[in-house]
C-alpha cells in the first residue's frame, strides 16, 4: 500500500501543477495576437508581458490579444510523458544515421555492464583480500583512498586521448568511478565478518586459503551482494557523464537530441526509463538473492517498526486525573504528591 503511495504522491503533485490552471502556469499561450505587433498565434509569453501589452493595446484602442495560461514547454504534463513512453519507441529517428530509442538504451546498458563487470572482476577480489589480510590493506588502501577522491569525469580527456572516441573511454570512466569505491566498500564489508565464526572454523581445523574461501567469503557474500546492488546504482550516475565523453552516445545522446528538438516529453520519458530500468534491475537482483542465498533472512527495512509503539505509562494519566481534585485513589494521590514535591521525578506504580 505504502509502496504504491510512494509513487502516487509525487505523481499527484506533478498532475496538480500540470493541470490546475491557477497553480504556477507562468506563461500565456497566445491564441490571437490582437493588436500587438510582435505577438504570434501559438507563441508563449510571460504573463506580466502579456498583461502589459494587453493594457497598452487597450489604451491605444486596438484589438485585445487573446490567450490562455500554460506551463513552459520544458514542464510536460503526465499524459504527454506517458504517451511519449510509447511514441518515443515508435517514432523513427529524424536522421537515418541516428539510433532509435531502444538502440540508445541498449547501447547504454551495454556500456554500463562492461564497465561494471570489468570493475568487479578486479574490485571484488581485491576488496576481499584487503578486508581479509592486513598486508593487502596496507599495500592498496592508501592509494585507493587517494584515487577515489579524483572525480571520474576528470579523466575524460585523458581516456579519449588514450582509448579513442568510441565506447572504450566511456567504459573506462565507469570503471574508474566504480572500482575504487568498490574496493573500499567491499573491504569494509569483509572486515565486519564475525570474528567468532573464524575462530570456530580455526578450532575445526580450517587454515589459510580455506579459511578465506570456506569462511570469510561465504560469511560476507550476502553483504557484498548488497554492496554490488548499491554500486550498480552509482555506475548509472557515471554513465551519463561517461556518455558525453568522445562521441556522445546512448541514452544521453538521445536525451540531448530530443531536448534540442524541444521534445521535452521524450526527454522525461527517457529519464524515466533510466529509473525504470534501474529499479527493475534492482528488484530482479533482490529476488535473485533470495534464490542464491537461501539462508539469508529477510533484511530489516527500518530501524523502528510500527508494532513497537510507545504508549504513555498509566501513571502519567493518573497523575493528570488526580491533579483535578483530591477524590482520586490513594496510589494516584501519592504519585501526584511525588510530582508536586520533586517536579520531574520518576513516578512508577508500586
Amino acid at each position: 500500500m505504502l509502496v504504491v503511495l510512494s509513487f502516487v504522491l509525487p505523481l499527484a503533485v506533478w498532475a496538480i501543477v500540470s493541470y490546475v490552471p491557477w497553480i504556477w502556469h507562468p506563461l500565456v499561450h497566445v491564441t490571437d495576437p490582437g493588436g500587438v505587433d510582435y505577438f504570434m498565434t501559438g507563441m508563449d509569453v510571460d504573463r506580466a508581458v502579456f498583461a502589459k501589452e494587453a493594457a497598452n493595446a487597450a489604451k491605444a484602442g486596438l484589438k485585445l490579444p487573446q490567450g490562455y495560461r500554460v506551463n513552459p514547454l520544458y514542464f510536460q504534463p503526465p499524459h504527454a510523458v506517458a504517451k511519449a513512453f510509447y511514441t518515443a519507441f515508435t517514432t523513427p529517428p529524424r536522421l537515418p544515421t541516428e539510433p532509435w530509442l531502444h538502440e540508445s538504451l541498449g547501447h547504454s546498458i551495454r556500456t554500463i555492464m562492461w564497465g561494471f563487470i570489468a570493475s568487479s572482476i578486479f574490485g571484488v577480489p581485491l576488496g576481499i583480500l584487503c578486508g581479509t589480510y592486513r598486508f593487502f590493506a596496507k599495500l592498496q588502501e592508501p592509494f585507493v583512498e587517494f584515487f577515489r577522491y579524483l572525480p571520474a569525469p576528470a579523466f575524460g580527456a585523458l581516456c579519449v586521448a588514450i582509448l579513442g572516441i568510441d565506447d572504450a573511454p566511456k567504459i573506462a570512466i565507469i570503471f574508474i568511478g566504480t572500482f575504487f569505491q568498490q574496493v573500499l566498500v567491499i573491504a569494509n564489508t569483509v572486515r565486519k565478518v564475525d570474528p567468532a565464526l573464524i575462530e570456530a572454523a580455526e578450532t575445526l581445523g580450517a587454515r589459510g586459503w580455506r579459511l578465506l574461501t570456506q569462511v570469510v567469503v561465504p560469511a560476507a557474500i550476502t553483504d557484498i551482494y548488497t554492496d554490488m546492488r548499491i554500486l550498480l546504482g552509482w555506475a548509472w550516475t557515471y554513465l551519463i557523464v561517461a556518455e558525453v565523453v568522445g562521441t556522445m552516445s546512448g541514452i544521453t545522446y538521445f536525451i540531448n537530441q530530443q531536448a534540442r528538438y524541444r521534445h521535452f516529453d521524450n526527454v522525461y520519458a527517457a529519464i524515466g526509463m533510466i529509473g525504470i530500468i534501474g529499479l527493475a534491475c534492482d528488484m530482479m537482483l533482490a529476488w535473485l538473492a533470495t534464490v542464491i542465498f537461501p539462508w539469508k533472512r529477510r533484511t530489516r527495512k527500518a530501524v523502528l517498526t510500527p508494532h513497537r509503539k510507545y504508549t504513555a505509562p498509566e501513571s502519567a494519566a493518573m497523575v493528570e486525573k488526580s491533579s483535578e481534585g483530591p477524590g482520586a485513589s490513594s496510589s494516584a494521590t501519592s504519585a501526584a504528591n511525588l510530582v508536586g514535591e520533586s517536579g520531574g521525578a520518576i513516578a512508577r506504580e508500586a
Partner: protein, 300 residues
C-alpha cells in the same frame, strides 16, 4: 528472624564408590597437561594480569569445570588452550605433545553458537570433516550419525536461523565432536540459554559424554551447573586471576536432578559459594540510599 543452618557434611567426604572412581580416573593417562601457564595483557607483561601461573592435569574422559567470577581469566585460559590466544608463558601438552595455535584436536563450543549461517545443519557438522580432507560421502554419513546422537537428525537440512538456541548449541556440540577431538573445550556454552533449556542441555550433555570417548573442559559461572556436571571443579578467584582450589566432586554418578537436594550437593555448593562470594556473613556491598518513589506499603 533467625534460622538454624542445616548440618552439612564436609565436602571432602567421599563415599567409597566415589573415592574408587577418582582413583580410577587418576590412573588414566593425562590428555591435557597445563604447566605454569600464565597470561598478562599489555606490552612486556607489564599490564593487567589475566591469571597467574596455573597448572592442571586432565585425565582421559574426565569432566572438568572451571568456575569463577567474571574477570578471573577463565575464558582467557580456555581460549589459550584452544590456541585462539597466546600465553605469556608456560606450556600446554596434548597427549604429551606441546601445541600452539588452534587445531582440530581441541574442539571448542562457544557461548554464541557460531554456526555457519550459510551452511545447513548437516553441512555445519561436515565442516571439520571436510577440512580434514574426508571425502564428502563419508563426511555426510558421519555428520548424520552425530546429528542423530544429539537428537537433531530430523533437522539436517534446516538452516541455523531456523533453530532455537538450545538446538543450535547441540549442533555446535555435534560439529565439534565430529572431529573426534582429544578434548572438548566449552566456554560457557549454555550461558545464553534460558534456565529451563539450560537444564535440558546439561542433561543432554551428560548423555552425550557417556556415549562419546571425549574429555571435557567446561567453563561456567553457574555453581549448580558445575556441581551437576563436573568430576573435578577448578575454582578461580579474581585480582589477580588464580586458582583458589581444585575440588573433587563428592556426588556419585550417574547423576540426576534429585541429587540437587542431597547433603553432598549442598555441602559442595556451600563451599563453592564461600570461595567465590567470600565466607558466609560477609557484608554485602550496600547501594547508596536514594529514594525516587513513594508507595503506600514499603517493599521489604
Amino acid at each position: 528472624m533467625s534460622f538454624a543452618p542445616l548440618k552439612l557434611p564436609d565436602y571432602h567426604e567421599q563415599s567409597p564408590e566415589v573415592a574408587a572412581r577418582f582413583r580410577r580416573i587418576r590412573e588414566r593417562p593425562v590428555v591435557l597437561k597445563v604447566r605454569d601457564l600464565h597470561k598478562t595483557f599489555g606490552a612486556n607483561g607489564s599490564g593487567h594480569i589475566a591469571f597467574e601461573k596455573m597448572s592442571l592435569d586432565v585425565h582421559r574422559r574426565e569432566f572438568i569445570c572451571i568456575i569463577g567470577p567474571s574477570g578471573c581469566g577463565k575464558s582467557t585460559f580456555i581460549r589459550i588452550v584452544a590456541g585462539l590466544e597466546d600465553a605469556s608463558g608456560g606450556e600446554i601438552l596434548i597427549d604429551g605433545h606441546p601445541v600452539s595455535g588452534p587445531g582440530p584436536d581441541r574442539g571448542m563450543v562457544f557461548q554464541g553458537y557460531t554456526l555457519f549461517p550459510w551452511r545447513t545443519v548437516k553441512h555445519n557438522v561436515m565442516f571439520g570433516l571436510e577440512m580434514r580432507g574426508k571425502d564428502s560421502s563419508t563426511a555426510d554419513v558421519e555428520a548424520r550419525q552425530w546429528l542423530d546422537m544429539v537428537g537433531l537428525g530430523k533437522f539436517e537440512n534446516a538452516y541455523p536461523h531456523e533453530l532455537s538456541g538450545g538446538m543450535k548449541q547441540r549442533v555446535a556440540i555435534a560439529r565439534a565432536l565430529a572431529n573426534e577431538p582429544r578434548i572438548l573445550l566449552m566456554d560457557e556454552p549454555f550461558g545464553a540459554l534460558d534456565a529451563l533449556t539450560r537444564c535440558k542441555m546439561q542433561s543432554y550433555l551428560m548423555q552425550i559424554w557417556k556415549k562419546v570417548e571425549v574429555t571435557v573442559l567446561f567453563i561456567t559461572h553457574d555453581l549448580e551447573e558445575a556441581c551437576y556436571l563436573a568430576d573435578r571443579i577448578v575454582v578461580m578467584g579474581v585480582n589477580p586471576g588464580r586458582v583458589l582450589e581444585v575440588i573433587e566432586n563428592p556426588m556419585p554418578r550417574p547423576r540426576s536432578t534429585e541429587q540437587l537436594l542431597s547433603p553432598e550437593f549442598l555441602a559442595l555448593k556451600h563451599r563453592l559459594d564461600e570461595l567465590i562470594h567470600g565466607p558466609a556473613g560477609t557484608e554485602e556491598e550496600k547501594l547508596p540510599v536514594i529514594k525516587l518513589t513513594e508507595a503506600g506499603d514499603e517493599v521489604e
